[in-house]
């Protein structure tokens, strides 16, 4: 028996040992390239696209590709785009991509380099039949909310679907009080703070997040062109965004096979992978190239897709009646910082001045080392740290 225990121990060591650890990547060599992120849809809006450049691992974000001349040319017309914010270009007029018309993207950057896409046509339009939520336990045994899509194309031609979503949720600061702390304006009271009435509403907020992953499905292997119970989003039951009321707007894009392959390959490259087998990465060529230099690497894709969208709302207590709320974004611990430390340094006042804490209560019987007020982290008493108090226009209670 002793022998076996030893074996198990060794087995444990082995399995814990095959490891994947995060590293801070370094830029070995850097090549600046243009990135074109353009999707034109059949929605009648001012179409929008993004131009940026690649950046190094040490930089925080991309450099916008500003002052470029951007247009989408169709068989009949040309739609001009103008830069609204750096790198974001919006068509000067609202237009919707029409079926059986070829569109082509033309970009000329401020340094005179020009890029052209292949011609693309609008894909078949398939609307979302059903967008619905269910409380499920997923394959990993995790309880949570699943958002499913059903869609059906009787013509069987859509086949390739890509999804984006926009989720909006209501946040209620759990330790909100109508009172607030402010630094004592009287400079003579060096470390003192004052309790005042709150001047603004910051208990209930709304936050909207865009999806940031590539969500794809196809019906190639299915007998019919039917998307059924496709899981667009799964939210762990412990995610605070579920706490009160949640809404999701799902957009379904029908893609061409080529565009779908592009997104799929990009997703495969960047998806988590198995430790023992690695996909051969390489330059992923889209449908845009340089007119002057055919070997120049151009990142991104010009996609013309039909889009269909649907929104759904749900409340936490409908699916989790009587159950405790998910934990808040951070643990809301109470603290009683003293006004002044033993060394004579102000403690609470700089926390208040720096907008880091919120009033929660008075500390009626301060112990040694405690101050006169019970405080919580700002986000626990003020939801504007993570949301906006403006109710979104579409919001339904």
């Amino acid at each position: 028996m002793l022998k076996y225990n030893t074996f198990i121990l060794m087995g444990l060591m082995l399995l814990n040992d095959a490891c994947v650890e995060p590293i801070e990547p370094e830029t070995v060599t850097f090549e600046s390239a243009i990135v074109i992120d353009a999707t034109i849809t059949n929605e009648l809006i001012q179409q929008q696209l993004f131009l940026s450049r690649t950046f190094t691992f040490e930089e925080d974000g991309p450099l916008a590709e500003s002052n470029a001349v951007v247009k989408v040319a169709s068989d009949q017309t040309e739609y001009l785009f103008e830069e609204t914010t750096p790198g974001t270009y919006r068509s000067t007029v609202a237009f919707a991509a029409q079926p059986n018309i070829s569109y082509q993207l033309l970009v000329t950057t401020s340094d005179g380099l020009s890029y052209i896409s292949e011609t693309e046509q609008l894909t078949n339009t398939t609307t979302i039949d059903e967008l619905y939520v269910e409380r499920v336990t997923n394959n990993n045994g995790v309880d949570g909310m699943a958002i499913f899509v059903d869609s059906f194309d009787p013509t069987g031609t859509s086949k390739h679907y890509r999804y984006e979503y926009e989720e909006t949720y209501k946040i209620i600061a759990p330790k909100w009080k109508p009172l607030d702390l402010i630094p004592d304006p009287d400079p003579l009271n060096g470390c003192n703070v004052l309790v005042v009435r709150r001047e603004r509403e910051d208990r209930v907020c709304y936050t909207t997040d865009d999806s940031n992953s590539i969500i794809l499905t196809n019906t190639n292997e299915f007998t019919e062109d039917r998307v059924s119970r496709f899981l667009v989003r799964f939210i762990n039951r412990d995610n605070y965004i579920l706490s009160h009321r949640y809404s999701i707007l799902v957009k379904q894009y029908v893609q061409s096979s080529k565009a779908y392959t592009f997104f799929e390959t990009l997703r495969d490259f960047s998806g988590s992978e198995s430790l023992f087998s690695e996909t051969q990465p390489g330059f992923l060529e889209g449908n845009i190239s340089s007119t002057e230099n055919p070997t120049e690497k151009v990142l991104g894709y010009f996609d013309v897709s039909s889009v269909s969208e649907k929104r759904v709302y749900f409340d936490y207590d409908v699916f989790y009646p009587g159950e405790p709320l998910p934990p808040y974004i951070v643990p809301c611990l109470e603290s009683k910082p003293p006004l002044i430390s033993q060394a004579g340094i102000c403690i609470l006042r700089p926390l208040v001045a720096g907008n880091l804490v919120r009033y929660f209560n008075t500390n009626d019987e301060p112990q040694p080392g405690e101050g006169p007020y019970v405080t919580v982290r700002r986000v626990c008493g003020d939801c504007t740290e993570i949301g906006s108090i403006v109710i979104p226009e579409f919001w339904e209670e």
């Binding site: 060794m10 990135v35 992120d37 691992f57 330059f283 070997t295």
Partner: protein, 920 residues
């Protein structure tokens, strides 16, 4: 008249040698080759010698004899060689090399450098010319046997005695047993099957037997007539089952072919290995020229070849995936495996179908005398091997089975991600060998291995190998032998997906091949030795099918049509001993491949890239109709030249064709790689290799040194477009690229075969490049220039050392250093679709950090002086003692729109393991 003359001579001889030792030959020579001396003796006396020139080497001898007995002279002349002599029919002297020239490595007799006792002074002992008078301590009581029935009417003085020497414990034949008649000091040795034949004088003879690893015996034989005398010998005490064959010791310098490596299981017994598994294939990668892409990747890269370019044979049948558990274990049972011959330079003409190498693995023959076995308990697997006699002395069965309990360990873990995963494997092998008679032997092997693993709870991957092979060896006559081989191999894998929604599926892949091979050998024509034959192989591939995984699933069943191919070859090779120094091995193979219908092949524009857009149509082929044929001559020539008796130079040229390719979009082999047959759009791979090497043995073969260089060019090597979809894709040709390969390298190996400290050091400098060029952008990688392949690792150093403290305790160490392998590393990142991604440019322009690792093990043999039920062997080893966190890969993942970089490593801390083996 002639007969009388012979008899008279016989008497003369008998007296002159047996009694009048002072009368003999007068001879003087200086700095003469042995051959010259023998020629002189032939000219001046009535003796005739029978021998092969090459045995004698080129060493020069000097001597001066006056009336000396012939055996004195020969003893002196042949002292430094491993040649025995035997005087027959009075005037015929047959020189025998201590070992016969083998077709293959003799089974069951494995040299073991770490067993010093078995080796010491082995050269002299194994070439027993003169038996020393004093009795050995191992000597048993002298028995007396009577041979033959006395025939009063006969006046013959000499009788022919024959028989077989058998290992009393295992029932295996003992070869190279020296059988010596003490009175005359003449003797003979047994052949590969343990048989011998010798002449004895009438009356009393004292017969002594000697062989390494066996107890010396002495018996009195009273000879009355022709008869039989068999020997059943006990292994000597210091002997486990390790015997070094001195005859092979010269193999290094003597064989004509370059780039051949022999590994036997016993030798690697004490190499420290991960998780206590003795593993022949893992030992192979410690030798120059053979490497893996990384720790935990299955498949071997031999001299810059892709992992699909190795023909891995188990008892002549192909194993498609010889690894378990993502390559951490090999799928070969170490207890049943005998030897592996790895041909990485010149491949003998009988083998073909792969570009880079042949791994010829043979299973041991079972013990036909006695039931025995071996078992091991390790932390991850347990293994049991049994040898079962079927017909005593004639046939035996060997079975081995191995299974893991890692699945159970995984399940008992708290870690969520591991809890949901499973990994299990097992393998089973059985071999039956039957010697029908002296001229016919039958061998049959069956093998099955299976792996199942799941990384997420909704999918289950499994793969299996299965093979059967039958071999009939037939001795047509003294000079001709034939082997008929029939084999069938199957490899398949399966992915089952059982998720939440209605898209459950079941994907399968299967390849099956059946081969018939007829191999003939003729050793008769003096300096020539011919091997020739014919082989034909039928491939049947079911490249993939997908089925709905459950009744609710809306997956459409899809099946990619079956592919068939026929690969045939004619081969001949001649091992021609031109003179003492020069040996040429010239082989030619003509291979022919036909892609067979029924099939629908896609036709593409002649001057365009191959993609769905350039497809112009399809062409249908009927069942078994030739879709397209390929073929060509494959030259396999190598030569050896002795610069000195212990120094040789070898050169070889060889070209190969390969008609079957793996499809893998991974940088390392994964078990879901599929094999694709050459067809209308995918051409066979081809390679040409030249190599040149120098080989030297020092100090009586104690040290072996070799230096080999090679240059290899290949074409139509498969690679893939970025993000290729390979599974369930009918039009594979639109996803693959065929390019040129270029590899060169120098391999250095020094081995110390004996002594307390033994082991080897191998160093390889090699480069491997691939070029994927085309006039079309989409078919060009890295601007169409040569770039390093995924497994290009210029520096590769391996040191394996064993140190024997005492008979029972030994320690070994294994050190590996390799240049980090090339990776495709991003040259920036970018934002697209609200998430950050990395920007990859040219392939393989960067390298992961260098790899190094030290493993140590300490071994203890059970006390084998006391008669026990089982002989035990404990091994405690620590893998990666230095705890080096060798990066295996660096990869980038976009999670929640953010980019994260990860480095993976397989074994980043020291892994201790304790394994217990026992034999019974």
């Amino acid at each position: 008249m002639k007969r009388i003359y012979t008899i008279i001579l016989f008497f003369c001889f008998y007296f002159s040698v047996g009694q009048n030792k002072d009368e003999g030959i007068s001879l003087s020579y200086e700095n003469a080759t042995i051959k010259e001396v023998l020629n002189t003796i032939e000219e001046t006396t009535g003796y005739h010698f029978f021998y092969v020139d090459a045995w004698l080497g080129s060493e020069l001898v000097s001597g001066n004899y006056d009336n000396a007995p012939i055996n004195d002279i020969l003893e002196s002349v042949l002292k430094k060689t491993i040649v025995n002599f035997y005087i027959m029919d009075d005037d015929k002297i047959v020189l025998t090399r201590n070992t016969i020239i083998y077709d293959s490595l003799p089974k069951n007799y494995f040299g073991s450098p770490e067993d010093e006792l078995a080796i010491d002074g082995g050269l002299q002992e194994a070439a027993p010319l003169f038996y020393e008078e004093e009795s050995s301590s191992a000597q048993q009581n002298i028995n007396t046997v009577r041979i033959g029935r006395e025939n009063r009417n006969s006046n013959r003085q000499k009788f022919t005695i024959s028989g077989q020497a058998i290992n009393a414990k295992t029932g295996e034949a003992i070869q190279d047993l020296a059988i010596i008649v003490k009175e005359t000091n003449f003797g003979t040795t047994t052949d590969t099957n343990g048989y011998y034949e010798m002449e004895l004088s009438i009356g009393r003879n004292t017969i002594v037997t000697k062989a390494l690893g066996f107890q010396d015996t002495e018996l009195r034989a009273i000879v009355f007539n022709d008869g039989q005398l068999n020997f059943n010998l006990e292994e000597s005490f210091e002997q486990l089952d390790e015997v070094i064959l001195e005859g092979n010791r010269d193999r290094n310098i003597e064989e004509a072919i370059t780039g051949v490596t022999l590994i036997d299981v016993e030798k690697i017994k004490s190499i420290p290995l991960v998780l206590g598994e003795r593993d022949i294939l893992k030992a192979a990668v410690t030798l120059p020229g053979i490497s893996t892409a990384g720790e935990g990747s299955s498949g071997f890269n031999v001299r810059g070849g892709r992992t699909d370019q190795n023909l891995i044979l188990l008892d002549n049948a192909v194993i498609y995936n010889p690894s378990h558990f993502f390559g951490i274990f090999s799928a070969l049972n170490p207890f049943t495996s005998g030897t592996v011959n790895i041909y990485k330079g010149s491949i003998p003409s009988e083998y073909g179908g792969r570009l880079s190498s042949v791994f010829d693995i043979s299973t041991k023959d079972g013990n036909s005398e006695k039931f025995s076995g071996e078992a091991s308990l390790g932390p991850v697997t347990s293994n049991l091997m049994l040898e079962i006699p079927v017909v005593k002395g004639k046939s035996a069965l060997i079975v081995g089975g191995r299974a893991t309990y890692s699945d159970w360990i995984l399940k008992s873990l708290d870690d969520e991600s591991l809890n949901n995963s499973q990994a299990s494997f097992y393998d089973f092998v059985a071999k039956y060998n039957h010697s029908i008679n002296e001229n016919n032997e039958l061998k049959a092997t069956g093998y099955f291995s299976k792996d199942a693993f799941s990384i997420t709870s909704d999918s289950l991957y499994s793969y299996s190998n299965q093979l059967v092979s039958l071999k009939w060896d037939h001795k047509i006559n003294e000079k001709n032998t034939a082997s008929v081989i029939l084999s069938n191999s199957e490899y398949k894998f399966n992915i089952e997906f059982d998720g939440d929604s209605d898209n459950d599926f079941d994907v399968g892949y299967k390849i099956n091949e059946t081969e018939f091979k007829l191999k003939l050998r003729n050793i008769g024509s003096g300096a020539h030795k011919f091997d020739y034959g014919v082989s034909t192989k039928l491939y049947v591939v079911d490249p993939g099918n997908i089925d709905p995984g459950s009744s609710e699933s809306i997956i459409t069943p899809l099946s990619i049509p079956r592919e068939k191919g026929l690969e045939s070859a004619l081969f001949i090779s001649d091992s021609y001993t031109v003179n003492d120094k020069l040996l040429i091995d010239a082989g030619l193979r003509y291979s022919f491949y036909a892609a067979l219908g029924a099939s629908t092949q896609r036709i593409y524009e002649e001057n365009g890239p191959i993609n769905s857009g350039t497809r112009t149509g399809t062409q249908d082929f009927d069942k078994n109709e030739f879709i397209k044929t390929y073929g060509g001559p494959e030259v396999r020539v190598s030569a050896r030249y002795f610069l000195a008796s212990d120094l040789s130079v070898k050169a070889s040229y060889n070209n190969t064709f390969q008609y079957i390719h793996t499809l893998s979009n991974n940088t390392t082999v994964s078990p879901t790689d599929t094999w694709k047959l050459t067809d209308l759009n995918i051409k066979p791979q081809e390679a040409n290799q030249i190599s040149l090497g120098l080989y030297k043995n020092f100090e009586g073969n104690m040290y072996e040194l070799s230096l080999e260089g090679y240059y290899k060019k290949s074409k139509n090597i498969l690679d893939y477009k970025v993000g290729a979809q390979l599974l369930l894709n009918e039009a594979i040709e639109t996803e693959v690229l065929q390019g040129e390969g270029k590899a060169y390298g120098v391999e250095f190996l020094i081995k110390k075969n004996e002594g307390r400290l033994n082991g080897w050091l191998g160093y390889t400098y090699s480069r491997t490049y691939i070029k994927l060029d085309s006039e079309f952008n989409e078919e060009r990688v890295n601007n169409g220039d040569f770039f390093p392949s995924n497994y290009d690792k210029p520096h590769d150093l391996s040191i394996v050392a064993n140190y024997k403290f005492t008979r029972r305790f030994s320690a070994s160490a294994n050190f590996v250093y390799q240049t980090g392998r090339p990776v495709t590393y991003p040259i920036g990142s970018y934002i697209f679709n609200n998430a950050e991604y990395v920007f990859y440019s040219d392939r393989n322009q960067f390298r992961i950090p260098d790899y190094y690792r030290l493993d140590l093990s300490f071994n203890m043999e059970g006390n084998h002086k006391i008669k026990k039920f089982a002989h035990s062997f404990w091994s405690f080893s620590v893998y990666n003692v230095l705890g080096r966190n060798n990066p295996y890969s660096v990869f980038f993942v976009t999670e929640d729109g953010e980019l994260n970089a990860y480095q993976s490593s397989i074994f980043s801390i020291p892994i201790p393991t304790l394994t217990y083996n026992f034999k019974f």
